[in-house]
Each structure stands twice: as structure tokens, then as C-alpha cells.
């Protein structure tokens, strides 16, 4: 897997030195993926958890000396995962919120071509909801591997699994997704 991350590395270095423009480049590239990853995890306060993730990241940015883009992404999503777990525990403890799963909204547009309907339904939000519908392990592996863009070894470290287990979970997760009727409709349209 090739990583074209020269500009990202430069932005990371600038952010570490306190450059706001560099930080904004990092944030703009990673924030959407972080939000989608947290949605897959089932956070119902995604914005708050993402904010807390970035807060910790910027506080500890001067300590991040591991490497380049890949390591920074793995580091950031690890923080996000921890904060999501904390948020879930807090909700359970204080019972002020109820953890709910993502629900794929049904879109029925009578009169439109099937292709338009299916493609419109498969927006990013719905794609995230489809991934969230997988089993917990598979959903997180697919999210970290595809949404976060981490390699297998990094995903294995975060989830404390073996790389082989990550590959199996990814394979099964993608296979489950490919068997989803909405995905199959797209395939029919494409053919």
C-alpha cells in the first residue's frame, strides 16, 4: 500500500512547531474521517468526542515524535477510540444519555429510476451506517482500515489483535457488506 504523505508530513511538522495553518490542514484532512469512525463506534455525541480527541491531540502534540502521517493517524484514532470508550462509560454511569445504534433511514422515492434512488441512498452517512451495522469487531476493523486508512499492523495494535485476525475480520466484514441488498442493487445497476 503506497502512501503519498509528503505534504501531510510537512503539515504535521508545521503543526508541531505551532503553525496554525499546518494544524488546520491536518484537522481538515482527518476530522471527517474521525467523525465517521466515531459514528461507526456508536457514539451519539460524536462532535463532543471528536472535540475531546483533538483537544488531547493538540495538548500532547509536542510529545508525538513517532514518525509521519501513518503514525499520526494511528495515534489520533487511538485517542479517539479511548475517548469514545470513556464517553460510553460516562453515559452508562450517569444514565443521562442512551447509547443507540445507527439506523439506516429508508428512502423511498417513487417514480425515480432505481439507479438514482440507490446511489442517493448510499451517501456517506448511509455508508457509515452500513458499516456500523456489522458486528462490533468487523465494524471497527473496517472503519480503522478503510475510513481511518490505517494499515493492518496499526489496526492490530489498536485493537490488540493479531494481524491475521484483523485480515479475517476485514474480509468477513466486506463480504457481509457486499451481500447487503443495497450493495447488490448497485452492482446490478453497474452491470
Amino acid at each position: 500500500m503506497e502512501t503519498d504523505s509528503g505534504g501531510f508530513d510537512e503539515a504535521l511538522a508545521r503543526a508541531r512547531s505551532g503553525d496554525e495553518a499546518g494544524f488546520l490542514l491536518l484537522w481538515g484532512a482527518l476530522q471527517p474521517r474521525l467523525l465517521r469512525y466515531l459514528q461507526v463506534l456508536g457514539c451519539d455525541d460524536v462532535d463532543d468526542v471528536a472535540s475531546e480527541t483533538w483537544l488531547q491531540a493538540v495538548r500532547d502534540l509536542h510529545r508525538f515524535k513517532k514518525g509521519g502521517a501513518d503514525d499520526f493517524r494511528a495515534w489520533l484514532f487511538t485517542i479517539g477510540r479511548h475517548r469514545a470508550v470513556d464517553a460510553a462509560r460516562s453515559r452508562i454511569r450517569y444514565r443521562d444519555k442512551v447509547l443507540t445504534g445507527q439506523v439506516v433511514p429508508q428512502q423511498v422515492t417513487v417514480g425515480n429510476p432505481v439507479e438514482d434512488e440507490v446511489l442517493a441512498a448510499l451517501s456517506t452517512r448511509h455508508a457509515v451506517a452500513l458499516v456500523a451495522g456489522l458486528s462490533r469487531d468487523q465494524a471497527e476493523v473496517v472503519a480503522l482500515r478503510i475510513i481511518a486508512g490505517l494499515d493492518t499492523e496499526a489496526v492490530a495494535r489498536i485493537l490488540r489483535k493479531s494481524p491475521g485476525a484483523v485480515r479475517v475480520a476485514l474480509h468477513r466484514g466486506l463480504r457481509t457488506l457486499s451481500e447487503d441488498p443495497r450493495i447488490r442493487d448497485i452492482e446490478k445497476v453497474e452491470q
Binding site: T3, S5, E20, L24, A29, V49, Y94, D96, L177
Partner: protein
């Protein structure tokens, strides 16, 4: 600029390709809406000194490392470590105000800048407004979310170690407000508290805050909830099952604290008739979230005004009973007032119509209760002697 993401795992299935493209699409405007808040957090992190929020325990290895760099001998380093450990212990004790008063004052004079509290009350700073003490009892305090005054610190016997900005705010310029969704709520009800954290007028996003609660009559604070400020610096935390008056405030790790806000719970009071004996009707009142010994007043509707008829106290079963002469009370409305205490606000029961003419006027049936109430001693209110005598319950 490259996004830094590697090539996505490819798929030969068109549907999966669409899915992966959707998952890895560029950020949408709503996903990038928190840009300003993120930038604010980045600036705040750069402004903050790096030792802020670092626990005392972390100071030892850092200082030892510095000593090693200076080439100090191992014995000297050990002595320095012992001194630092002792200093850290004293500092921790000073934070908890666990030192004797003179020592605490010395520690305050040395470590005041680190937030160590003084054991002697200090005059409020001129620039900070003093928040009036919320009244206790049945009067509800209307909390203001815009009161930027200084919150009183928890008492020495408090259970919460959270710092307070009463004397020495670690981060000046931070303002934390709090407001309650309901200043009065039914007992065992839920309330929600919202706040906003700003730093020199700019919202602070992504900051974890604690909602601290001090129950009525309690000396210490305990955590009632936690949350993280959103992109506009706002936070909202719910508190379920409030059964007694309480005071709340928000607190952050950098010493910022909101003013206190009090909420009053109103117990539900029920009044019902429980049979008649020897020309008297027995009225029983119950308040599940009232406390034994709380005063209850039986009132009778006279014209358009309610007049006190008798007083009593809730027993261990949270009930009190009144015996009313049936003949003179026929056709009269009664109710019970539970007087407010430090633990709850005042509350009024439902009306009860004496049953003699209830059927004639078509009033709703009054639910009777078979359970025997505990012993109570209702007595006549001296100032409001009723027009007809109220007899104490035979089993009193």
C-alpha cells in the same frame, strides 16, 4: 496537499467500490463546521504552560532527569528525590487542606500560585462579584446562567478534590456559566444543567467538565455527571432522580468553576379518606419524598380561602392522619400543605371532599387506603382554631 491517506483497499465489486468511496469522501461542510473551535483549542493548548494540569507525581522524574543532566552525584540525587517527594506530599496535603492551620497558611503563602487554598477566609477580589448565598427552604433560587461571579470553594470537609477558582484561578480569563433547565422540579424528577466555557470571550471546545452536586445539608461535593464542551463551548449534563434540594456547579481541571446554582424538589403529597369511626372521618396524607418529622398542615376551604385546621408530622411511613368530625365537615374541601424544609420545597396535596354529599354533587370518588398509618400526633394550630373540633386519631 495530500490528505496523507494511503490508497484505499480496492474492491472488484462495484457496490463495495461505491461504499468505500462514500466512506473516504472528502469532508462535507457539516463535518468541517468545528474548524474554528478546533483552532481555538489549538491556540489554547499553545498558550497553556505545559505544567498546567500535570499532577504532582509527575514532577519527580522530570526533576531527577534534570539533576542527572547536571551531573549531580547519585547520593545527592537521592537526597533531592527524598526532598522532592516530601515536598510533593506536603503540597498534596496542602491541596487537600489537611495541614494544621499555621502550616496550611505557610503552604498557601509558598504555593499560592499553584492553587493551594488558604485556611483563612480571604476577601473577595474587587473585580469579582460576590454571589449571594442562595436561600434555603421552600423558596426556589432562580439561577442565572450569566452570573460570572466567583464560586465559593468546597468546604474543608468536602469530598471533591476538584480545584476551585475562588482564590487563585490557574487560568485567568476563563469563564464558566451554568443554568438549570428547572429551578423547581417534582421529587425524583430529572433535571438538566447547561453551561458555557469561554476563554477571554471565545468558546472553549473539547474541555471535560464535572458537574458537582452538594445535597441539602451535606458539607461535601460529589460528582453528579461529566461531559465535554461542544464546538461552541457549551455543555449539557442530565441528572436523574433528584429527591432532595441540591446545589450544583460545573468545574474544570484548570481550576475554572461556575457559580453555584440551587434546585428545589417538590415532593408529591396525597390526601385521601380512610373510613369513618364514631362520627369522625379519617383523612390520611402521604408524601413519599417527605421526611419523617416534616410538618404537614390540614387546611379547609372556607369561601375562597384555605384556613389551617390542624397540624401534624409525617411518621416513619411518610404519612400523617387527621380525624375530622363528620357532621360538621360534611361537604367541605380539605387539603394538606407539606411545609418546605432544607431538603425539599413546600407542596400542596390534592383536594378531598368530605363524602357525605359527595354522591349528591357527583364528585369523583376518593381512593381509600387500607394500610394503617403509623402513630402521629396531630394537634390544633393555636392561631387558627377551627370552627369545628378536630379529634386526634384513636390509635395515637
Amino acid at each position: 496537499m495530500s490528505t496523507g491517506f494511503p490508497d484505499e483497499p480496492g474492491s472488484r465489486e462495484p457496490g463495495l467500490d461505491h461504499l468505500i468511496k462514500a466512506l473516504t469522501a472528502d469532508g462535507y461542510p457539516h463535518e468541517l463546521a468545528g474548524r474554528d473551535a478546533a483552532l481555538t483549542a489549538f491556540r489554547a493548548a499553545r498558550r497553556r504552560p505545559r505544567w498546567a494540569g500535570v499532577s504532582v507525581r509527575r514532577s519527580r522524574p522530570v526533576r531527577l532527569s534534570m539533576a542527572a543532566q547536571l551531573g549531580v552525584s547519585a547520593r545527592l540525587a537521592a537526597v533531592a528525590a527524598a526532598l522532592i517527594a516530601a515536598l510533593a506530599g506536603v503540597t498534596a496535603a496542602a491541596y487537600a487542606k489537611a495541614l494544621p492551620a499555621p502550616v496550611q497558611h505557610i503552604a498557601y503563602s509558598v504555593f499560592a500560585n499553584l492553587g493551594v487554598p488558604d485556611n483563612q477566609p480571604s476577601a473577595p477580589a474587587p473585580a469579582q462579584s460576590q454571589r449571594p448565598t442562595p436561600p434555603r427552604g421552600p423558596v426556589s433560587t432562580k439561577a442565572s446562567g450569566t452570573n460570572h461571579g466567583t464560586a465559593p470553594s468546597p468546604s474543608a470537609s468536602g469530598t471533591c478534590p476538584c480545584p476551585s477558582r475562588t482564590s487563585h484561578p490557574v487560568v485567568s480569563g476563563s469563564v464558566l456559566t451554568i443554568a438549570a433547565a428547572r429551578a423547581e422540579l417534582p421529587a425524583n424528577g430529572h433535571d438538566a444543567f447547561s453551561g458555557k466555557l469561554t476563554y477571554h470571550g471565545h468558546p472553549e471546545a473539547g474541555v471535560r467538565l464535572l458537574l458537582l452536586e452538594r445535597a441539602a445539608g451535606a458539607a461535601g461535593w460529589h460528582a453528579a455527571g461529566t461531559g465535554v464542551t461542544g464546538k461552541y463551548g457549551r455543555i449539557r449534563i442530565g441528572v436523574p432522580n433528584l429527591t432532595e434540594n441540591a446545589t450544583f456547579r460545573l468545574s474544570g481541571q484548570d481550576g475554572v468553576a461556575s457559580p453555584e446554582i440551587s434546585v428545589t424538589v417538590i415532593p408529591r403529597v396525597l390526601l385521601w379518606r380512610d373510613g369513618a369511626k364514631a362520627g369522625t372521618d379519617r383523612l390520611i396524607t402521604g408524601a413519599r419524598f417527605g421526611d419523617p418529622g416534616d410538618a404537614v398542615v390540614l387546611q379547609e376551604l372556607s369561601g375562597s380561602a384555605w384556613q389551617d385546621v390542624a397540624t401534624g408530622e409525617l411518621n416513619a411511613s411518610h404519612r400523617a392522619s387527621f380525624d375530622v368530625p363528620a357532621a360538621s365537615a360534611a361537604g367541605q374541601y380539605f387539603r394538606v400543605v407539606l411545609r418546605g424544609t432544607a431538603a425539599h420545597g413546600a407542596s400542596v396535596s390534592n383536594r378531598v371532599l368530605e363524602p357525605r354529599i359527595r354522591a349528591a354533587i357527583g364528585a369523583r370518588a376518593i381512593m381509600s387506603h387500607r394500610a394503617e398509618p403509623g402513630p402521629v400526633t396531630p394537634h390544633l394550630a393555636a392561631r387558627d382554631r377551627p370552627r369545628h373540633p378536630v379529634l386526634p386519631s384513636p390509635d395515637d
